[in-house]
Symmetry: C2
Subunit: 502 residues, 2 copies
């Protein structure tokens, strides 16, 4: 067996164990009894899996095997094919992240995250920033240590090393011009959209209640229409919707608000976008690094492509409106396609990121990107965080949070140690817009088919240009090969202009 | 850290990973989509967990650590306490089983089991014994190799090494006299019971349908009454009912037949008996070998104690009858306690083990014990299996199976490689009878309390004498300490005589 073959076997086991952890995470959010005793036992199980996975990755001989296999790749006569070479590149990337930090630091950060996140759950409801600050300071201190250690191994600056955990290869020289462009564009554009909407017909909101079982039936009907195969997946309920499980056993979740079916339905379609990316990853490379999804920005591009680009389109709503009426046994002007489209494209600046519309969402992300980078770079302290937040919110959206719960304490990310994650949301939105535009240009039947509920042309194109490629290419190359150009904020801006000001 | 402490850490991780596998097994039977693609991925996850667990157990230094810790135990000044010493004994026992066979043999047997079990699922419905025989021969061949290898390590005969996998320490010199006693007792006793029932009032069977949700509500009501805590467990549906999950997260399952609530309800109570044993295992020793359930015979004793001893009693039915009537909104003579008791103590010889009543069940087990031991000992070949089965069934119960589906192909065990398992069912029934008799003698309030739905006195006694002891004592000592004498078939026979011929 060659060094490369040995690595394939080792990483195959590692990723099978991560799949197991994925199912246990899903279970914890959907099925596990709510008592703290079950949760404590689950923590032990996941910690044991985490330790075993780390030991496989950081095992004493993995470094030698990687060196040997990379040497093999340089030898023309015995070179690896392109998938194997990419697999080896991804293995090295996982290895660098795993070995750049000591086990003690990883454990200290995990404990700090858990303490801070637990406290945050109560402190947020009380807007108690001073109460959470010491715990957040401990998290930030350790995150900086991780960032510094990984930045040396990855040859980048510390903040980039954090982004790299979620979106491999992402660097500031890609993010900065794009976010700068958007930051300049958004204020005037938002003002123009709000003006236009003020004089347009107002959406009529369908009155509830919409029973949860009817919402579920409609959701499952549309999931199936998109291509979700219920012999390989499920839809369940959880407090925070997510897409989990494994590529062969997709577990997406939602929650039902009986007063408002529209938000929940789009949530289901968003998670379906994530799930179908996983399902269509290259089958021949299951449980190998090259067979995994490309990164959080590309993952988010696939959920937002479905939710924002495809399913908030007039074409999709033309198809879905009769199904909505039938599902809830309703009729009337509020169920007309034009009205549903007004509902699904309503723009309203707000304080809460997860409730934000497509136009104002980037403002929430840019605010967080600027702040978290400044904190990691010691250009700001935690004492300054609330005022920096509120000033940026006023500057970007003209709003000032009345309390920290709807301000700097609203997201779990920082309190749970997930720094460097936020940029992928907006990069995903832009990437999704660019990929959808390229797909429509390549196959002009994609949108007409969607108006008949037929997603096959769209998924055929996505399968060939995105999903089936797994992690074969690094993200910039993947985007350029699929769309003919590097990530370009102009395409996203054109989408916004055409949808909101046409 | 001492060698013993190192072992505790190692085995703690091992048992946390086994808990994870337990949750994944539960999920596979209850929640996982039914497609073969999800099942194949789950197999990979469980295989990876199995490999990792085996590597932890058979790690190169575990043998030295065990030797050192056992030496430590001999030193008076630094000796382990009784729980630690028992923990070490159980660690050694797990290690012997794990290291007695090569990884190649384990893998070959796992593959043979899977091939044979898969084929059995279709072959059974067609009663195609000739079709399954070559695959069963391969399983048997490899099981014998395992038995031989383990018999040397355990210093016992090969068949005993197989029993030892399920019921540590069980040997033929315990089983043979007890089963011989029962085999002599049963034919005349059964004839007498059938005579008595022929002249007694016949049970009136309540007519269905009994909606599944009403059955579930009644089941959950009675589970809670027994002490099942739904903040640490769930009741779900699966094709084959079982008790799974972990001690802190109990997952029991059932299936509902809308024509017959009585069988399903007893099934739920049976699984609740298993689950509450797990729940009440010593909390201080979670995820350590000494904190685990004692073995399959003791486990079965706790489910049968609840189902057969406690819940088929007139006392329990006195409590449950009004709840049954209320659950199904019924009334009439079929809901009288005496009639329900007749239903739940009806004896009728049949071909199928899992449908058997308390009186005829041991005959099914003794038949299998004799046959599987003869096959392992090369005293019989697979060619002789069907005729040996049918002759024994005629001799024990006066019945001849019309086909192999209701004969020697009915149980999954042999086709799935679980040889040496059957004895634990009847040893469990006898152990359960003996423990219940001892509990009632020690606390005469136990049965009167049950007639009011109060299981607290019973579980207080079981907690002190069985559950809370985990694997501190080996099985014979556990039984003798709890009941004052070794396992004694007379107590079980007295129970049968008092229930069926009084």
């Amino acid at each position: 067996m060659t060094s490369y073959n040995k690595l394939e076997k080792r990483f195959g086991r590692l990723l099978a164990l991560r799949e197991a952890a994925g199912v246990l995470h899903w279970d914890a959010s959907t099925m596990m009894p709510e008592g703290h005793i079950s949760a404590a036992a689950r923590s032990e199980q996941l910690a044991a899996l985490g330790t075993v996975c780390h030991e496989i990755l950081a095992g004493s001989d993995v470094s030698d095997l990687l060196d040997e296999a990379e040497g093999l790749n340089d030898l023309g006569s015995k070179s690896l094919n392109s998938w194997q070479a990419a697999n080896l590149r991804e293995m090295r990337h996982m290895w660098v992240h795993a070995t750049a930090v000591t086990a003690d630091l990883v454990e200290a950060l995990a404990k700090a995250n858990m303490a801070c996140e637990t406290k945050w759950r109560t402190a947020r409801t009380e807007s108690d920033y001073d109460g959470i600050k010491p715990l957040l300071a401990e998290v930030l201190k350790l995150v900086k240590e991780v960032a510094t250690a990984k930045s040396e191994a990855l040859e980048c600056v510390p903040y980039e090393a954090l982004m790299d955990e979620h979106t491999p290869g992402l660097r500031q020289d890609l993010v900065d011009p794009i976010f700068g462009d958007l930051e300049a564009f958004l204020p005037d554009f938002l003002a123009a959209v709000l003006d236009a909407q003020a004089t347009a017909p107002q959406p009529i909101i369908p009155a509830g209640p919409f029973p949860a079982d009817q919402q579920r039936a409609l959701g499952e009907r549309l999931m199936a229409q998109l291509g979700f195969d219920f012999s390989q997946g499920r839809l369940d309920i959880s407090l925070h919707p997510f897409s989990g499980g494994t590529p062969d056993d997709l577990r997406i979740t939602t929650r039902y608000d009986e007063a408002d079916f529209a938000t929940g339905l789009m949530g289901i379609l968003h998670e379906t976008g994530h799930a179908l990316y996983e399902k269509n990853l290259p089958e021949d490379w299951r449980r190998q690094p090259v067979g995994e999804a490309r990164g959080m920005d590309v993952h988010e591009s696939q959920s937002l492509l479905i939710e924002m680009q495809a399913c908030r389109s007039k074409e999709f709503l033309t198809y879905a409106a009769p199904l909505m009426k039938a599902a809830f046994q309703r009729d009337g002007p509020e169920w007309e396609v034009d009205n549903l489209y007004r509902i699904y494209t309503q723009v309203a600046p707000g304080l809460i990121r997860v409730d934000a519309d497509e136009v104002t969402y980037p403002a929430h992300v840019i605010l967080r990107y600027n702040i978290e980078r400044a904190l990691i770079n010691d250009e700001m302290t935690l004492d300054d965080l609330p005022s920096a937040w509120n000033e940026a919110m006023q500057s970007l959206l003209g709003l000032t949070p009345p309390d920290h719960a709807s301000g700097c304490m609203q997201d779990i990310h920082w309190f749970d140690g997930a720094w460097g994650y936020f940029p992928s949301y907006s990069l995903g939105a832009m990437t999704g817009a660019q990929i959808f535009a390229a797909a429509r240009q390549a196959d002009t039947n994609i949108l007409p088919a969607i108006s008949k509920g037929d997603f096959a042309p769209l998924y055929a194109w996505l399968g060939e240009h995105i999903h089936g490629l797994g992690s074969l290419y690094e993200t910039p190359e993947l985007i350029e090969r699929a769309t003919g150009k590097p990530l370009d904020a102009e395409i996203f801006k054109r989408h916004l202009q055409s949808r909101y000001l046409a």
